[in-house]
């Protein structure tokens, strides 16, 4: 059938896999943005820079301390998450009584500063990060070759995304988070420390970005601009999925990665813009996003 369309199956599945990989990063990043936006009501423009920091922390752990990929997968998100919590406490928390726009401007400025500092120190040519030996090589599936590391990225992203979804939708902590998103004053009046919940939530959302950064390090080169390039697409994903929707950001992230991959097969010229075209259509037809609740 594929030959009938003039597309060899290797090309199709190869692009679908690439789409899934990109979708894995879109999902992880837009999920973090959604979690943060839900509770803090700020659009975290620093998200791309913190994703980049995740990759850099993994690189530094390896090159300065000899700590490898697997510990870095935990340590880098932890370190960047703590960095995020400090930023939230010291700066972002002062803006909650103001319009959303101020949070956006602050985090945009932070992104520029963080990226500038890393560019200054490490240049823009990119630093290599080896695929961990356990995941080197790949499988020949007959119809395509599947590199082990790329399969791992998709699986890890799915696990973390659905783990996050489960935590938010099905646990007591998640119930607190959802309630605080709706009515923080009342949750506080029940004896819950809402400011602490907000700080932890920001730290968690940021840690998700850093986790994506570590996953990305062996695929893309570790580069100060890696987040800036990605984050624009991720914002489009968030708009399409619906601001603040957890499941929406996961499904939309993976879905749009696949759509992008398919476009690269059938109309390569359109692959760079297809997500933005979809965004425009969604904004016209359903402004709250595919999974968003109309405000």
């Amino acid at each position: 059938m594929f030959e009938l369309l003039g597309i060899p199956p290797q090309a199709l599945f190869g692009q679908l896999l690439l789409g899934l990989i990109n979708g894995s990063f879109y999902a992880l990043l837009s999920l973090g943005l959604a979690v943060i936006f839900g509770l803090l009501n700020i659009i975290n423009f620093a998200h791309g820079a913190l994703y980049m920091m995740g990759a850099f922390v993994a690189w530094m752990l390896l090159n300065y301390l000899g700590i490898g990929y697997w510990p870095a997968l935990i340590l880098a998100p932890l370190a960047v998450g703590i960095f995020g919590m400090v930023i939230e406490r010291l700066m972002i928390a002062r803006l909650y009584h103001l319009d959303h726009l101020y949070g956006l401007l602050l985090t945009f400025g932070l992104a520029l500063i963080i990226q500038g500092l890393f560019r200054n120190e490490y240049g823009i040519s990119g630093l290599p990060y080896q695929i961990p030996t356990q995941l080197a090589g790949g499988q020949n599936l007959g119809f395509m070759f599947l590199p082990n590391y790329r399969a791992w990225v998709v699986v890890a992203s799915l696990l973390v995304c659905f783990g996050t979804w489960f935590m938010i939708e099905k646990t007591r902590l998640g119930a607190l988070l959802r309630a605080a998103t709706e009515n923080p004053a009342l949750v506080g009046a029940f004896g819950i420390n809402v400011p602490r919940l907000i700080t932890l939530t920001y730290g968690f959302g940021v840690a998700l970005a850093a986790f994506a950064g570590v996953l990305a390090a062996p695929i893309y080169s570790v580069n100060p601009n890696m987040g800036a390039d990605l984050i624009i697409v991720v914002f489009a994903v968030v708009v399409i999925g619906g601001m603040g929707s957890i499941l929406g950001s996961i499904v939309t992230g993976f879905g749009l990665g696949l759509v992008e991959g398919l476009t690269r097969v059938f109309y390569p010229e359109g692959s760079a813009v297809v997500i933005f075209v979809i965004m425009a259509i969604v904004l016209l037809v359903k402004p709250a996003g595919l999974f968003g609740r109309a405000a």
Binding site: A175, E182, A185, L186, G188, A189, F190, G191, I192
Partner: protein, 240 residues
């Protein structure tokens, strides 16, 4: 219970309480006392400052001054979460049922702050409807059920002072009766209750005392026993 018979030190003593919504100064020196185990109401016209008084006691106003002593401790300056931990709980006017939480999650949301709260079984005995609806989305409940849920979830916490803001607003008479029986039962169990109420008959059937609030002040105190005698005066206050 007539005022003279109250025991020495009140559980809640509010003195010269001032409160603001943003720039607008709403409370201008509210003072009243509530003894342990009492039910008192705050009566008054719309906009008199009744709801704001409850919010100020609970610590939910951004700015307040004066004194709120609860069980011998000053609450002014404490955040709402600390006040909740001391054993005060609120049922807000809009009920505050969370739409993104199930009934079960709504019920279990407020943490237990003191021993002696209701068990789940006691809550379901009080509000049998809730047991059937545990898996429903919180805001899918009827208005009456939402009100019951809003009361039920603070009974679990062990709070001993309950602030109820218009619990009968917009509800059918049969539900109003059920909520009335619930408040009576709670009084019997020793809860202390401050009730904001527009439904005057309802308030009269439950309260020990009525505080009349007007323009951000308590302007009169009427023991429930003297209510009939003061009807004319009260109607003038409430403008009915």
């Amino acid at each position: 219970m007539p005022e003279a018979a109250r025991p020495g030190s009140p559980l809640l003593a509010v003195r010269d309480l001032n409160g603001w919504y943003g720039e607008s100064h709403v409370l201008h020196g509210v003072s009243f006392d509530v003894a342990e185990g009492e039910v008192v109401t705050l009566l008054g016209r719309n906009g008199a400052g009744k709801t704001t008084t409850l919010l100020a006691v609970m610590g939910m106003l951004a700015r307040r001054t004066g004194s709120v002593i609860f069980a011998g401790k000053e609450l002014i300056g404490l955040p709402a979460r600390a006040i909740a931990r001391m054993g005060i709980a609120i049922v807000p006017e809009e009920r505050g049922i969370f739409a993104s939480l199930s009934v079960e999650e709504n019920l279990m949301l407020p943490p237990v702050v003191r021993p002696g709260g209701f068990s789940r079984e006691q809550i379901f005995e009080l509000f049998p409807n809730l047991r059937e609806r545990l898996a429903s989305q919180g805001t899918k409940l009827s208005g009456g059920e939402q009100q019951m849920l809003a009361i039920a979830r603070i009974l679990r916490t062990g709070a001993r002072l309950l602030l109820l803001d218009e619990p009968t607003e917009g509800l059918a008479p049969v539900i109003v009766q059920q909520i009335g029986r619930t408040i009576e039962r709670l009084k019997g169990e020793g809860f202390t209750i401050v009730l904001v109420e527009q439904n005057f008959r309802f308030a009269a059937s439950l309260a020990d005392r009525h505080y009349v609030v007007d323009q951000g002040r308590v302007v009169d105190t009427i023991p429930n026993a003297d209510l009939e005698r003061n009807m004319g005066k009260l109607h003038a206050y409430l403008g009915v």
